[in-house]
C-alpha cells in the first residue's frame, strides 16, 4: 500500500499530519500504523489537528471508514480538540466524502486549501483578462520562439506547461516543436475550457490539459524534459514553492524555463516620466495583491536557489517597432482594467489607480505615435536540473 505518512508540528495551536499517495488497504488492520500515528498526534495536539490530504490521490472506503473511526475516537478521547481535513479541489473525490464527516461531527471542518489561497483568481478568469492573455500571447510568440531554442527546446521532448492559461503557447509549441508529449496544467476551469475548445475546434491532437495546482502537481517526479512556467511565478506569494514542483517533475538533465515581467523597466519616449510613474503605481497595486510584476530580474537568483545549473537569461522585448503597435496599445489598455480589478480585489488605495490610468494612457499614446518608441520587457530564464543533487 504505497502511502506516505508525514507528521509535522506546524505551531502551537496547529499540528499537521500529512497523508500522500494511495491508501487502498484490504482490511482495516493495515491502517494500524496510520491510525496509531493519528492518535498519537491527537493526544499531543492542542487547538486544531490538521489532517492534510491534499496530495492523497486515491483512498478506498476501508481507509475512509478508519479515518471516520479515528474521528469518533477523538470525539471521545479529546472532546476539546478540533480536526481540520485539508483537501484540494484538484482531487475530485475528496470534498464530497469528507463533507459528510464534517456534517456529522461538530469538531470537524474541511478546508479546500486552494480555494482560499489564490484570492486574485477571479480577476484572472474575467472575460477582460482572457482578452489580455490572448493578445499578449500573440505579441510575445514571435519573439519567444527563437529564445526557446536557445533555452533548449527542440522537437521530440516531453514538455509540461505549468499555469498554461488559455494554452495558446501550447498550440504554438505543438505546431512548431512537435513534442513527444505535451501537457498544460492550470488552476482555472474557465481558461481550460477555452483551451480545450480551441484544441477541438482545430482538430489538434497530442495536447493534454489538466486541472491542477502548481503548488501540488499530480505529475510524476522526473518525468519531463522541458518544464515551462510563463508569466506566472510572479503571481504567487511563495514562488519558491512552485519552483520546487517544477524541479521535481523535471528529469535530471532537463530544463526549467520561466518568464516574468519587469514593470519597473517599462519605458517609452516621449511621456517617459508619466509612463514610469504609472507603472510604479501599477507595481504597488499588484504587490498589495501579493503579485510581483517585477520578478523578471530575479529569475537567475530564483533558479540558482532551486539548485539548477547552466542558467541562461534572455530578454524578450516587445516594442512598438517590432510588433503591431495597435495590438500592443490594446494590451496596455486592457492592463488598466486589470489593474483596477486587481486593486479592488486587494483593497488597494483607489488614488493609485488614477496614476496607473494616467501613466498607461500616456504609454499607449507613445506606442501609437509614429515618432515614439516603447518597450514591454520580459525576462526569460532557464536552468538545468543536475544529475546529482548534493
Amino acid at each position: 500500500m504505497p502511502v506516505a505518512l508525514n507528521m509535522r508540528l506546524t505551531g502551537n495551536e496547529e499540528q499537521e499530519v500529512t497523508l500522500t499517495g494511495t491508501l487502498r488497504p484490504f482490511v482495516a488492520e493495515e491502517m494500524a500504523s496510520v491510525r496509531s500515528s493519528l492518535e498519537q498526534a491527537a493526544r499531543s495536539a492542542r487547538g486544531t489537528l490538521c489532517v492534510n490530504l491534499k496530495r492523497l490521490k486515491y483512498m478506498n472506503n476501508v481507509a475512509f471508514l478508519e479515518l471516520n473511526r479515528f474521528v469518533r475516537w477523538v470525539a471521545h478521547a479529546r472532546p476539546d480538540l478540533r480536526i481540520k481535513f485539508v483537501l484540494s479541489s484538484v482531487i475530485p473525490w475528496a470534498i464530497r466524502k469528507f463533507q459528510v464527516i464534517a456534517e456529522l461531527y461538530p469538531a470537524v471542518t474541511i478546508e479546500v486549501y486552494d480555494k482560499a489561497l489564490y484570492p486574485t483568481q477571479p480577476v484572472l478568469e474575467d472575460d477582460e483578462f482572457i482578452n489580455v492573455l490572448r493578445m499578449q500571447e500573440k505579441l510575445i510568440w514571435n519573439h519567444e520562439q527563437d529564445i526557446l531554442v536557445q533555452h533548449g527546446l527542440r522537437p521530440g521532448l516531453r514538455v509540461a506547461d505549468i499555469c498554461c492559461g488559455l494554452g495558446c503557447f501550447d498550440i504554438f509549441i505543438q505546431r512548431d516543436f512537435r513534442p513527444e508529449y505535451l501537457v498544460g496544467v492550470d488552476h482555472s476551469r474557465p481558461l481550460l475550457r477555452y483551451a480545450r475548445q480551441v484544441v477541438s475546434d482545430y482538430g489538434l491532437e497530442n495536447i493534454e490539459y489538466q486541472y491542477g495546482d502548481a503548488a501540488a502537481l499530480l505529475l510524476a517526479d522526473n518525468s519531463f524534459d522541458f518544464v515551462a512556467c510563463r508569466l506566472s511565478l510572479q503571481i504567487f506569494h511563495q514562488p519558491e514553492k512552485i519552483l520546487h514542483e517544477l524541479v521535481r517533475i523535471c528529469r535530471p538533465g532537463g530544463r526549467i524555463y520561466i518568464t516574468n515581467e519587469m514593470l519597473s523597466c517599462m519605458v517609452g519616449y516621449p511621456n517617459e516620466e508619466v509612463i514610469q510613474q504609472g507603472y510604479k503605481s501599477f507595481l504597488q497595486v499588484s504587490r498589495q495583491g501579493g503579485v510581483d510584476l517585477d520578478m523578471g530580474p530575479k529569475g537567475r537568483f530564483l533558479l540558482q536557489g532551486a539548485g539548477l545549473e547552466d542558467i541562461k537569461i534572455s530578454q524578450i522585448n516587445v516594442s512598438n517597432t517590432n510588433s503591431d503597435p495597435n495590438d500592443l496599445a490594446r494590451v496596455v489598455e486592457l492592463w488598466i482594467r486589470v489593474a483596477w480589478q486587481f486593486g479592488a480585489a486587494a483593497g488597494a488605495d483607489p488614488s493609485l489607480h488614477a496614476d496607473v490610468e494616467k501613466g498607461l494612457r500616456a504609454h499607449m499614446e507613445t506606442i501609437l505615435s509614429d515618432r515614439g518608441y516603447a518597450v514591454w520587457p520580459i525576462i526569460a530564464a532557464s536552468g538545468r536540473k543536475p544529475f546529482r543533487t548534493s
Binding site: 487502498r24 472506503n61 471508514l65 469518533r72 479541489s89 484538484v90 470534498i95 466524502k97 480545450r196 486541472y211
Partner: protein, 160 residues
C-alpha cells in the same frame, strides 16, 4: 470498452483491484477533456466496485466489465459468477441503495459503525455520496448476475 478476466486470476491478489481500476480508468478517460482528473475519479469508482467483487464472488468463472457512455454519464456493467450467498448480498445492497432515505441511513452507519458492514458500505457510498445509481439484473437459471453502476457527471465533481 470491455474487459474480461477470470475470477481465479483476479482474486489472487488484492493489488489487482487498484491496478485494474487505474488502468481501466485511464483507458476509458483517454478522450476526455481532462483525462487525468476523469481517470482519478473513475478509478475511485471502479476500484470500489472491484473491491466488492473481490470479496463477493463464486470461486470460479469469468468477470465481464463493460463501459458505456450514456449522454455525459459513464455506465459500468459488471457481470460475475455468484453463489447463493453472494446473490443475497448484492440484492440487499441494491435494495438499500434504492431506499428513499439512503443519505440518512449512510450517515447513521458512519456514526454507529456495525461490525462486518464495511464491505457493503463501500458500494453504498457510491450512491449515498456520489449519487451513482446501482441496479441489478439476474438472468433466470444462471449462476451469474450483472450490476449496473451509472456514474455522475465527472465535470460536476470536486466543486465545493
Amino acid at each position: 470498452m470491455a474487459a474480461r478476466f477470470t475470477v481465479g486470476g483476479f482474486a489472487r491478489e488484492w493489488g489487482h483491484c487498484h491496478l485494474l481500476a487505474n488502468y481501466l480508468a485511464r483507458y476509458v478517460s483517454a478522450n476526455e477533456g481532462d483525462p487525468e482528473r476523469h481517470a482519478t475519479l473513475l478509478s475511485t469508482f471502479i476500484n470500489e466496485l472491484l473491491e466488492v467483487i473481490y470479496r463477493n464472488h463464486a470461486p470460479e468463472g469469468q468477470i465481464d466489465l463493460i463501459f458505456r457512455k450514456r449522454g455525459r454519464h459513464v455506465v459500468l456493467q459488471l457481470t460475475l459468477p455468484v453463489t447463493e450467498q453472494n446473490r443475497v448480498f448484492y440484492r440487499m445492497a441494491v435494495q438499500i441503495v434504492n431506499q428513499p432515505d439512503l443519505k440518512s441511513w449512510y450517515r447513521a452507519r458512519l456514526e454507529e459503525p456495525a461490525e462486518g458492514e464495511d464491505t457493503m458500505l463501500g458500494l453504498l457510498e457510491l450512491a449515498a455520496v456520489y449519487t451513482c445509481t446501482l441496479t441489478i439484473s439476474e438472468p433466470p437459471g444462471q449462476d451469474r448476475l450483472s450490476l449496473f453502476l451509472e456514474l455522475p457527471e465527472v465535470d460536476e465533481m470536486g466543486e465545493v
